[in-house]
Symmetry: C3
Subunit: 138 residues, 3 copies
Amino acid sequence: MVKTETISIETRGNGHMVDVTGRVAEFVKNAGLAEGVVIVFTPGATGAVTTIEFESGLEQDFARLMEELAPQQREYAHNARWGDGNGHSHIRASLLGPSLAVPVLDGRPILGTWQQIIVLDFDAHPRSRKVVFQAIGE
Amino acid sequence: MVKTETISIETRGNGHMVDVTGRVAEFVKNAGLAEGVVIVFTPGATGAVTTIEFESGLEQDFARLMEELAPQQREYAHNARWGDGNGHSHIRASLLGPSLAVPVLDGRPILGTWQQIIVLDFDAHPRSRKVVFQAIGE
Amino acid sequence: MVKTETISIETRGNGHMVDVTGRVAEFVKNAGLAEGVVIVFTPGATGAVTTIEFESGLEQDFARLMEELAPQQREYAHNARWGDGNGHSHIRASLLGPSLAVPVLDGRPILGTWQQIIVLDFDAHPRSRKVVFQAIGE
């Protein structure tokens, strides 16, 4: 069984973390997936997916890490060439990656108690962003 | 065909790398997966999964990278808020990600000769940790 | 349905990014996968897979990030032990990871307009590298 759904989320950009755990669980339930995998994927070159304990302290700590790795105020060859101003957004997204595969058992994604699935929007401005959920299994 | 198994591993925490390659190969064999994918996933917000040439030199080199990216002795908003002392553990885990998908062919994960599958425990103390293996395919 | 194919690519090493988007799309089409997932995997401990807007500006920006995180000219315990000279290659590869899962719908990988699938070869010299494509679904 394969089911695929695309949702839209509104983000503030600039590394905004959106907790999609509830929506993933709901998708898995509606898809009728008992055992298998759910894939969470961001189409687009400035978004990423990972897991975190979603609380305001780690939001700040993770944002600081991203800013230290790829500062916004810095020269980027991407910006020089395209005038985009989002070179930092792109390399942060490529470092983290756009895809996450979470095993599902008994109709539920297997996550730790304090582990949430997040979509990060590193783009330099607020925007609407597509996120793809896909259920594969039985 | 979908099969899912959860194992426990004992770790020393603090970035301890556990080589699970042999157990993944054994799981794939026991599951009877000839062709498909095996997913390795750590439930929990301070663990991660990736591959490496598992030898003591790279254990040190990778640990140094993690310490440089997210030093243990530093202020974290997570620690200030929750008194956990493991802010560095969380952001290292989120950076690497909790999931790995490895193709299987002829009943074996397709890995390079010197490429091992590792689970990293970034938590700040020794612990027991669950790891999920999932086989999907034929 | 599961189909697996291994291709070879020639790389310059040293972080060379190879855009495999067209080959992945072609593989999905030839496999007859209408809906499901395509996995792109690099066997080998010095390769990685992610997505990026593939243009020369970001090639430079991403290469700078990698060099800052794990400089080539530095002491590595791996190099001291094995005389390989590619300690930096290994830890860059482990940080990014060797695997990517991209959802497929209507016979096509769901990617953003400016989002390409890349294989990175961090090894310290030009080489031939295997890349595995795997289609799972219907």
